[in-house]
């Protein structure tokens, strides 16, 4: 009888102590903190043009300033143009910019009708053997260029983009990025501000070995995001208004 009382007391005490110190809630994956010191030889620059308001990027004012910027700046590895929409059968602004800057243009569609296409353009300098993408009509399009980044040592990267408008896209998005860590894939895109936190939470419980940067500008309908393996980290995002179209210069370090 005494032993029963002792066991009961110990068990009760354990249970109470457990209640006093509840096990920490599983918050999902957390990327390790990057080193504080930046290796400038391993920093690549990418430019992302976006109004972040869900409207077409180009209007009647044209894009000559962008053409001048690309022509005069050889340091930026790739340029992204959110909502550089096109009309079927008419000159696409992104193709025109590619031709006039002697670069190569790509276009990742987000949504389309019989006559027009919404999407994000990509401009790169080299010929691209591998433009890797996923196309799931009515759900998700992701696409990106695989190229060599001239860092401290040459690193093969896939620079992709997409736009996320709804939470139902998350599962397809993660599936499209299954080999994120193995393939040095960086995804720069836009996400509706009201689901940005949901994406962060979804990724924490459905992926690992990644870093997610979100621009946290809740006052805009859209935010920028960068999803990368842990071997990359966004070091700076500089807002530039040199052209008539808002641009964000990303400085991303390859941690190796």
């Amino acid at each position: 009888m005494t032993s029963i009382i002792i066991v009961t007391a110990i068990t009760t005490g354990f249970l109470f102590s457990s209640c006093d110190n509840p096990a920490e809630e599983d918050k999902g994956y957390e990327a390790p903190a990057p080193p504080t010191e930046i290796n400038t030889r391993n920093v690549l620059e990418l430019e992302f043009y976006s109004k972040l308001n869900g409207e077409s990027l180009f209007d009647n004012t044209g894009y000559q300033t962008i053409i001048d910027n690309i022509s005069n700046n050889t340091k930026t590895l790739a340029y992204f143009f959110d909502r550089s929409d096109a009309v079927i059968g008419e000159t696409s602004p992104i193709v025109d910019i590619g031709w006039k800057t002697k670069t190569k243009s790509f276009f990742v569609q987000n949504d389309y009708t019989d006559t027009s296409i919404q999407g994000t353009g990509i401009i790169v300098r080299p010929i691209i053997n591998n433009f890797e993408g996923t196309g799931i009509p009515d759900t998700l399009f992701v696409g990106g260029c695989t190229l060599m980044a001239p860092l401290g040592k040459a690193v093969t990267l896939t620079l992709s983009t997409c736009q996320l408008n709804d939470k139902y896209q998350f599962a397809a998005f993660v599936k499209a990025l299954q080999n994120l860590a193995n393939n040095n894939k960086l995804i720069l895109g836009t996400i509706k501000s009201n689901i940005a936190n949901d994406l962060a939470q979804y990724l924490k419980t459905n992926m690992k070995d990644f870093r997610l940067y979100e621009s946290d500008n809740q006052e805009k309908p859209y935010q920028l995001f960068v999803l990368s393996p842990v071997s990359f980290v966004v070091r700076a995002v500089i807002f530039e208004n040199n052209t008539n179209i808002p641009a964000y210069k990303f400085q991303i370090e390859y941690l190796n």
């Binding site: 059968g89 031709w99 276009f107 009708t113 010929i127 009509p137």
Partner: protein
């Protein structure tokens, strides 16, 4: 309210099913540029005017230069894309004359995936490439369109080896309907084409000769399909000696 939502959902499902049930219809054009466009003095406008007459969804090119000395350091493909309102993809075979030489594709619709493979089988005169793009058509059907230019070597094993490489790369990885279009440097009764027909349907079987353009006597340019139930709606050989030594193919094809 619930009834309204249900009704809307039923309509959406029916509309989607109707779209997905539509056959895949595509108008394609094949152009061998002859030495990067030498017959037309590398004039993008001349080729664009020709293409515009036929309003193709996809144009594939062989012998396309990219910034070569002989073409005046021009990106002929992007210029044509701008003129025609199409999206360009360049598939480099090898470096040539201060620039690049290879195959290329223009598409009326953006592509979400694109790749180029190269090979130089034993006995080949030069490296050859096969480039392809994956497109979602407005009715949401997907299709892959590939272009190649097989080696002109006297030994058919060189072309067969390249075809085997192409088959391995583009047939095995997914179940998309595929068109393989281009200059096979082989007549219909050759060993090369007998081998090709193991996997590919000669959609234009029985149609006219394609070379030389001023008096066609041989058929060496093809539109091939996989799986083998493509339907030929129309298939025309059009000859412009001022643009190329090859006649061009303009074909309207359908996949159920």
């Amino acid at each position: 309210m619930i009834l309204n939502k249900s009704l809307w959902l039923i309509c959406w499902v029916m509309a989607s099913s109707a779209l997905m049930g539509q056959s895949l219809s595509l108008r394609v054009m094949s152009m061998n540029m002859r030495e990067g466009g030498e017959p037309a003095n590398y004039n993008a406008e001349a080729y664009s005017n020709c293409i515009r007459q036929y309003n193709p969804d996809v144009v594939v090119f062989q012998e396309m230069d990219n910034f070569t000395n002989r073409n005046g350091k021009k990106d002929l493909l992007s210029e044509m894309a701008v003129r025609l309102g199409m999206f360009p993809y360049y598939g480099k075979a090898f470096s040539y004359g201060g620039g690049d030489y290879g195959n290329a594709i223009l598409s009326k619709y953006p592509f979400y995936n694109a790749q180029t493979i190269t090979a130089k089988p034993a006995g080949a005169n030069e490296i050859r490439s096969c480039a392809w793009i994956d497109i979602v058509m407005p009715n949401k059907r997907k299709v892959r369109v590939a272009v190649t230019h097989l080696d002109v070597a006297s030994d058919s094993q060189v072309r067969i080896s390249m075809l085997a490489t192409i088959n391995k790369s583009i047939l095995n990885e997914n179940a998309l309907p595929i068109l393989l279009i281009g200059d096979f440097n082989a007549t219909p009764d050759s060993d090369t084409m007998q081998y090709a027909k193991f996997k590919w349907q000669d959609i234009g079987a029985g149609t006219g000769n394609t070379i030389p353009s001023n008096n066609p006597g041989s058929r060496i340019d093809y539109v091939m399909g996989n799986p083998s139930n493509w339907i030929k709606k129309s298939y025309d050989i059009v000859c412009y000696p001022g643009l190329s030594d090859h006649c061009f193919i303009v074909a309207e094809v359908e996949y159920p």
